[in-house]
Amino acid sequence: MRYSPFLSCREASRLITARLDRALGPIERLGLRLHLRICDACPIVVRQFDLIRRSVRELRDVVED
């Protein structure tokens, strides 16, 4: 993966989901931060993945209860 500050959205999506599973390295963090600042699409995708996480936990709580 290229660690240029100008990640593509495709590359950014990998970091956006990886962040849910592990701590990003400093270069990854910087790259994603810069990308999210200049991209209008990816901040929306960040919220979509957050919503998926919350919703799966809600599903779990409904099924287990």
Binding site: R10, L20, V45, R47, R53, R60, D65
Partner: protein
């Protein structure tokens, strides 16, 4: 509720819900049946007094979750480590790495009825994940296991786990976009 709620009848009533959870995680009906039987037996052998039915249920579900992880560990050699590679991302992204369809902010339903319908669609989307992706995703998101623990249990590398989890999440995103957010917003 009295302290006598740990009886066979109570456990029998819980069986369908336990099976649903086990099937979702294990993606194999025979394994799910075994794990649920083991769970019910364990719960019967170790009767304990519970003040409330809800606590008893939580306890039994906790046993089930441990049995599910035991099953993964015992059968890790039988599971494919990676699903056949998929080209989902080529459908989502243009060759230059931009989204083909501009992402939209998702608004989740407010009423309880449509909320439940949304969760049903989510469950279907999870069931439709390729098996290895689905298992890993639920270990992470439902059981909330740390990624390194998942890698240990399944004997897979962190890189493999990362690839599978990413694919699972992208797939779920696509599935929800198509099955819920597109139809509900238009």
């Amino acid at each position: 509720m009295g302290a006598d709620t740990t009886d066979a009848e109570d456990l029998g009533a819980m069986r369908p819900a336990l099976l649903r959870i086990a099937r979702l995680h294990l993606r194999n009906d025979a394994w799910a049946e075994d794990v649920v039987s083991d769970t019910l037996l364990a719960a019967l052998e170790k009767p304990a007094a519970f003040e409330a039915r809800s606590k008893h249920r939580t306890w039994v579900v906790g046993i089930l979750k441990h049995k599910i992880i035991d099953c993964f560990r015992a059968r890790r050699r039988e599971q494919p480590l990676l699903d056949a590679s998929d080209d989902l991302e080529d459908d989502i992204f243009k060759p230059d790495g931009h989204y083909r369809d501009w992402p939209t902010d998702w608004v989740t339903p407010e009423t309880q009825l449509s909320r439940n319908q949304f969760l049903e669609v989510l469950e279907v989307c999870v069931q439709q994940l390729p098996a290895a992706q689905g298992r890993l995703f639920l270990m992470r998101e439902w059981l909330e296991m740390p990624t390194n623990e998942i890698c240990n249990e399944l004997a897979i590398t962190a890189t493999n786990a990362g690839v599978l989890l990413h694919r699972a999440r992208m797939r779920l995103r696509e599935c929800l976009s198509i099955r819920w957010f597109q139809t509900s917003s238009s």
